[in-house]
Chain length 524, copies 2
């Protein structure tokens, strides 16, 4: 197959290409696929028909009308929903149940944008969220970190910064994410300052802020005002928070207060039920989706009561349970089907959707890890999800960020760029001239059509070994985990921070120093 | 989560279940999913609209009308196509080009069945091929075999029999396949006898016969007449051959003679272009699919000229090329998109489809292997393929059958049973009663709904480790390759051959002995 290399000026070009590839986190021949966010160019995979979708929507409406949602520790949120027509029952001084007439929440959601822009400090990296736009972000929230050949350890700020740098180095992510791993060496009440600083300093993409306490959310929004300017922040989304309901059917005060902080500032929020079927949602798929829809819609609706038009993202995290061990399982076929349905429901509701990602319960980036990851990730892109958190690094049932899995997942994210680009049919892609050139029995290596297209025709993985067995054997018979290990180390070595105005940097550092000095360390 | 285990009579039931599980190749809690073949209960994933599908069909028609197909060494096939209206140009004494008016091949194909039954010697295992039926079969044609911790080696008859036994032991395959690996210790002109005997003796499922020479196809059909009775074979499909075109645009005489042998006997045939884009088909996707459609349609059409109504399967094997090494690559996003389109084209043509499988170019059952396998296999089930060869064992770009990959792939095949079963929406699956039972904030472990469903609610992998990190660590920190290694060895140990009438067995052995005695060993 040496014919293929003829047209390229062999040695020299390859050397340049390899160096460029290393600088760009293994982008290789695929540079033409790099985009600030993906525009989906293939249809969504629609699983259910109209009748069944309506049944699920009616199920969600029944849950909201007959069982209601419990709110805790946030009377202001209860007031807002009561004024909007919710039927409030006081359970205790800090706990309320609110029931919603069928259709009421949907009505409130009509002011939420179907699609919006989250601005990055580098305007070329601003992302759109909603419609046919798709944004891939790193995994989120693991206390532990894994690295090949070492024991699992608690994450540190150094790990956190490493992952921000690895993400920034890859063209296959579009967003810097949020709590990529917990920096457990920093006090709990101060980590949000260091994490958001790392996103601002080591990445020039959009990012998520703190949700663990309303005052921390305020801090992160203040930092955004320094970086983007206060007026710009008032009028544009530059930061978002990812909020969990407490399933089943509870929104606690830390979450709802945080949601209000982001919405008041005109910033975005994600409203995520984490549903473990059989534990905190029905063990059957339809019920889990109906419940998830109900919980997420209520979170989104709160934003519109605070500030109509504030960006809100519908979300769903669906895990099943191992029948042998009772452990949560990720990347199962039931969750994949659930994602496809959730995509349909989000489009009917005209809200952007966050769901699925490269999930796995494996403790290694092995065959199991990638089987589960692919089952989950294919469903995310096929359902038309708009913001796919957990796109890279997820292992150990979300308890660990893995450096090697991060790189394997980045490669999957890259392949999705090709997949979502679709299948073009025209005279040129039909290539009948190429077949006619040699006729039956003649190979097509040297045809004009092949020469015109071969450099960009196919997805070129930075990690896969597609060599013949003999070459692979000579090169040490390593598996993809070992190659991923080499690639992340090389990428970190070659990482260069995007430029940041030193005055802004100083102001951010001053703000952080003041805030840290203002409070004792707290570890909860 | 101990609540979940309460309702089951713990120890005793689990022991029985574990033993049963071992006998059934790790079916575990999923016994309810076992079926002789899958009936697809989800929609296909339709990538292209009508206009673009028509363009591809017109492209295939143009290829057949303007460039034509080359036939070699089989004047009878040339006669058949000439009589049917093909425009024959003689190129040499053994080579002809035939051009076909647009629509002519489609017209011939109208007598081919949209769906048919391939009978197994155990009638409960007979499969349907076409429509919403899906049949999964092991990988096919590797000269090498791989086993954890050992060097790659040439396959032997012992390996072949092992894979037949492993396939038979799994509920997640429906068909015994064909040349699972090459038994290279048996002379080339005699292996077809031993291979088909192994399928007949160690499996009671349907299988494929020889295609390497027409007289070998005759031998295998004769063996089928012994097993099923001559009259039954005259009237029913009990064996199929998998025939390759010689792309681009050539059907050689060994293939066309073999196709005629199967069709004359009323047996099935698969018509497979093996397209490496840029090498033997256009480097752009649309052209590769158009060419594949043209080549496969012509193979299928030949069967109808020989015996109208003979079962014929449209097929497509699409590999791309690594731009760095020139090696073929499998499980790429381009091929996945191609499969989705091929499914649409097959349905428009009303022919059953074979395509994709658990493809990979990895040399180990690692993360790369399963990423590629999943990209490919998801496309096979989503495109509505009816016969999915290469569903288990494929590594090393089809050069090797891997024992461990076989088991990992079986697990994927099992998950596909759940996936293809779809998403049921009714009052019971909505489970609102379960949510109402405890209300907001209360878990659902002990609800009547959970107890009624939990045993069959979720796919339960036989290989994945979903335990917490600590348990996994105590159990040796092994990866899924190691678990797969243990599982195939245990499965083989516990394998029991399905009963076979000793008289029939004697007749088969006599036939094989006579045929072997009638010819010298040949190694080509």
């Amino acid at each position: 197959m040496t014919e293929l290399s003829t047209p390229a000026p062999a040695g020299r070009s390859r050397g340049r290409s390899a160096r460029r590839s290393a600088r760009q986190g293994g982008v290789g021949q695929n540079k033409h696929l790099a985009v600030p966010f993906i525009t989906r160019n293939i249809p969504t995979y629609d699983l259910l028909d109209e009748d069944n979708l309506v049944k699920i929507e009616q199920g969600a409406d029944r849950i909201l009308a007959e069982i209601g949602i419990e709110f805790r520790d946030d009377p202001e949120t209860v007031n807002l929903f009561e004024k909007a027509g919710g039927q409030v029952t006081k359970i205790s001084d800090t706990v309320w149940n609110i029931k919603f007439e069928p259709g009421m929440i949907r009505e409130i959601l009509k002011t939420a944008p179907e699609r919006f822009t989250q601005h990055a400090r580098n305007p070329a990296n601003s992302v759109e969220i909603g419609g046919d736009a798709m944004v891939l972000a790193p995994s989120y929230g693991s206390p532990f970190v894994m690295e090949m050949g070492k024991e699992r350890r608690y994450g540190t700020l150094n790990d956190f910064e490493n992952f921000v740098k690895l993400a920034q180095s890859s063209p296959w992510l579009h967003h810097s994410g949020g709590t990529i791993c917990e920096p457990t060496d920093i006090p709990v009440n101060k980590r949000h300052l260091d994490m958001v600083y790392a996103h601002m300093r080591y990445s020039d993409r959009a990012f998520l802020g703190s949700i663990t306490a309303p005052e921390r959310a305020v801090d992160n929004i203040e930092m955004s005002r320094i970086l983007f300017g206060a007026e710009f922040v008032d009028n544009n989304c530059v930061i978002m928070g990812n909020f969990n309901s407490t399933s089943p059917l509870v929104w606690d005060g830390v979450s709802t207060q945080g949601i209000r902080v982001y919405a008041e500032a005109g910033q975005g929020s994600i409203h995520l039920p984490f549903l473990l079927g059989g534990a905190v949602s029905p063990v059957t798929n339809a019920g889990t989706i109906a419940q998830g829809l109900a919980e997420s819609m209520v979170g989104c609706a709160l934003t519109q009561l605070v500030r109509p038009g504030a960006p809100a993202i519908l979300a769903m995290f669906h895990a099943t349970m191992s029948l042998r061990s009772g452990s949560p399982t990720f990347g199962t076929p039931e969750s994949a089907l659930g994602s496809l349905v959730m995509g349909q429901l989000a489009r009917r509701l005209k809200l952007p959707l966050r769901c699925a990602g490269n999930f796995s319960t494996s403790k290694l980036p092995d065959g199991q890890a990638m089987t589960q990851a692919m089952m989950s990730m294919m469903s995310a892109v096929q359902c038309g999800a708009n913001y796919i958190l957990h796109s890279a690094g997820f292992l150990d049932g979300l308890l660990s960020m893995s450096y090697e899995k991060f790189m394997l997942d980045l490669d999957v994210c890259g392949a999705m760029h090709t997949y979502l680009n679709g299948f073009e049919v025209n005279d040129d892609t039909m290539g009948i001239s190429a077949l006619a050139e040699g006729g039956p029995g003649e190979h097509l290596f040297g045809t004009a059509h092949t020469l015109a297209h071969y450099e960009t025709a196919y997805w070129d993985s930075a990690i896969n070994d597609d060599h013949p067995y003999e070459t692979w054997s000579e090169q040490g018979e390593v598996d993809s985990m070992v190659r991923a290990n080499g690639l992340w180390k090389k990428t970190l070595e070659e990482y260069q921070a995007p430029p940041l105005d030193s005055e802004l940097d100083g102001q951010l550092k001053d703000f952080i120093a003041r805030r840290k000095a203002s409070m004792e360390d707290a570890w909860y």
